[in-house]
């Protein structure tokens, strides 16, 4: 039973909660990884960093942990090259195995301790974890095949597939269950993702970018959700919210964050991600062709692509098909939209605890009740975002230091946590559990209607901002 559902007298105190609750432990695990990564980069920064920054020189800050942390490498013809790529054409050999072992050990130690603190057996976790990690490694390697990667078929899909194959054929072995920690992996990954949500990047394109990414997106999200509730009468509010968010914000990452914030079922998250990735492939192939065919301006086309295609990699690939200016606008609009993920997760969590989860009488919950029900890991996500945004803006060489922290270690951990989560979801899911969600095709209708609104509103706003109101400014900055 969740602590929020217990009578007040038997609820654990805040300190106990902070020591034993999954949300708080996800915050601590994320914090440990962020602090260690930051400390490693800070201690290894060049001695003359300040003077070089003051002289306006380009500085490269390295992350000493990068050598010990890795994910599978991109490969074309031989799957084994995902783990070890021999030297060829003057490019030296790359071995991802030591780095993967580093990630494996770090997560094993961190999670075994955290699970022990929750009052469960860390040893049981350690017994099951190697098998789940190997499945995640295979899924990750499947996603790095260059054709798969180019069409944005992310590791989440393959991790789900592998898990589903096992659970729906052999059946998931009981001994794996202690390491199938879907929510814990997701929440820890989200705290790490918070450090990548750097608020100072919000104004990268000035007001036009803000209007396309931060005005249209919430309007589409809220309209789609209301449409799902009032017109389609979706049976599950959380499925409605996850689909609305992944379609309007930024695909898989937004789906993960929103699903955790509104406590959606794992099948709902799988369904939303499956739909998002399918339509992303279609849109990244079709949109550049349509834009060229109608003779749309490159900058306008880039803004339209950036605001509508769900996934970041697909946006960049589609933008690049139009030209360099389109790539720049598309990728930047999507980056600004990426930053919206923190606000979205926070607002969804608040809406859920204050409105959706209120008691049957419909009375307004007290502040204490809101606090108890609020998914605390969201606070860790927001805190990491604020802290890293401040560090990036105020430290000497802040952008270089933070880029090294994220690029060299935390981004790698975050990817592994999400991959482990999706393997766990697959292992826990029976195909039969997915059927009720597909009945009547409501999720598909919701996605299609929401995306149609998104395409229309984004095109109108992009045209208004980039071609009418800020036309001169854009022509000067993007000649």
């Amino acid at each position: 039973m969740a602590s929020a559902d217990l009578p007040p007298a038997t609820r654990p105190g805040l300190l106990t909660d902070m020591r034993t609750h999954e949300d708080w432990l996800a915050i601590w695990c994320g914090a440990v990884l962020l602090i260690v990564s930051f400390a490693a980069v800070w201690l290894a920064r060049p001695a003359d960093l300040s003077s070089k920054v003051a002289d306006g020189e380009v500085v490269k800050v390295s992350n000493p942990l990068k050598t010990y942390l890795a994910k599978p490498i991109e490969w074309k013809f031989n799957p084994l090259h995902a783990f070890y790529k021999p030297a060829s054409d003057g490019v030296s050999a790359v071995n991802a195995l030591p780095g993967m072992l580093g990630v494996y050990i770090a997560i094993a130690v961190l999670f075994a301790v955290a699970i022990q603190m929750r009052g469960k057996s860390g040893w049981e976790f350690l017994g099951a974890y190697p098998f789940v990690f190997v499945l995640a490694a295979i899924a990750y390697a499947m996603s790095t095949q260059s054709v798969v990667n180019a069409y944005n078929l992310e590791y989440a899909l393959w991790a789900l597939l592998l898990g589903l194959i096992i659970s729906n054929t052999l059946g998931t072995p009981e001994f794996l269950r202690p390491a199938m920690l879907t929510e814990f992996y997701i929440k820890t990954g989200l705290v790490l993702l918070g450090a990548e949500v750097l608020m100072n990047r919000l104004l990268a394109l000035g007001l036009p970018g803000v209007f396309v990414a931060w005005v249209v997106t919430p309007v589409v999200l809220i309209s789609t959700y209301i449409f799902g509730q009032k017109v389609l009468k979706m049976e599950s509010r959380s499925l409605n919210m996850v689909i609305s968010a992944d379609m309007s914000v930024c695909g898989v990452s937004a789906a993960i964050a929103t699903a955790a914030a509104c406590k959606a079922k794992k099948e709902e998250l799988s369904l939303a991600i499956g739909m998002s990735l399918s339509f992303t492939v279609l849109m990244m192939v079709l949109m550049p062709g349509i834009i060229k065919w109608v003779g749309m301006d490159e900058v306008l086309g880039g803004a339209w692509i950036g605001g509508t295609i769900d996934s970041t990699g697909a946006v960049a690939a589609a933008g690049a098909a139009l030209g360099d200016r389109a790539l720049e606008v598309a990728a930047t609009v999507k980056m600004i939209q990426n930053i919206l993920i923190g606000v979205t997760a926070f607002c969804v969590a608040v809406y859920w605890v204050t409105y959706v989860e209120r008691d049957a009488s419909g009375s307004k919950p007290s502040l204490m009740e809101i606090w108890i029900r609020f998914p605390k890991f969201v606070l860790g996500f927001i805190a990491a975002s604020i802290l890293f945004s401040i560090l990036q803006a105020t430290l000497v060489g802040g952008p270089e230091i933070i880029d090294a922290v994220i690029g060299g270690s935390t981004k790698t951990f975050r990817g592994w946590f999400f991959c482990l989560a999706f393997v766990s979801i697959g292992l826990e899911t029976n195909f039969r559990q997915l059927y009720p969600y597909l009945r009547g095709g409501k999720p598909l209708v919701l996605y299609l209607c929401g995306q149609a609104l998104n395409l229309t509103l984004t095109l109108f706003m992009a045209w208004l901002m980039f071609k009418v109101i800020f036309r001169e400014m854009i022509e000067k900055s993007l000649p």
Binding site: V148, N168, S253, A316
Partner: protein
């Protein structure tokens, strides 16, 4: 007997599913990657620093020069 055939059945289903996955990743996808048009597309993405599978902007190498250009303009 039924229990036995059910057990064999689930191993067969598993073997079939894994064979399909193995054929896709060891034969079909490498064959596709070698098609001239697709190979050209993959090379272009690589040269531009575009990771088509990027989930977040921090996974996109192409973002670094873009941000540098934007900062220089400001």
């Amino acid at each position: 007997m039924n229990l036995m055939s059910a057990r064999v059945g689930k191993y067969i289903r598993f073997a079939i599913a894994m064979s399909v996955v193995a054929i896709m990743w060891t034969v079909v996808l490498p064959w596709l990657a070698a098609r001239p048009q697709i190979a050209q597309h993959l090379d272009r993405l690589e040269a531009q620093g575009i990771d088509g599978g990027a989930m977040f902007y921090t996974e996109l190498d192409a973002m670094e020069p873009i941000l540098r250009r934007i900062e220089a303009r400001h």
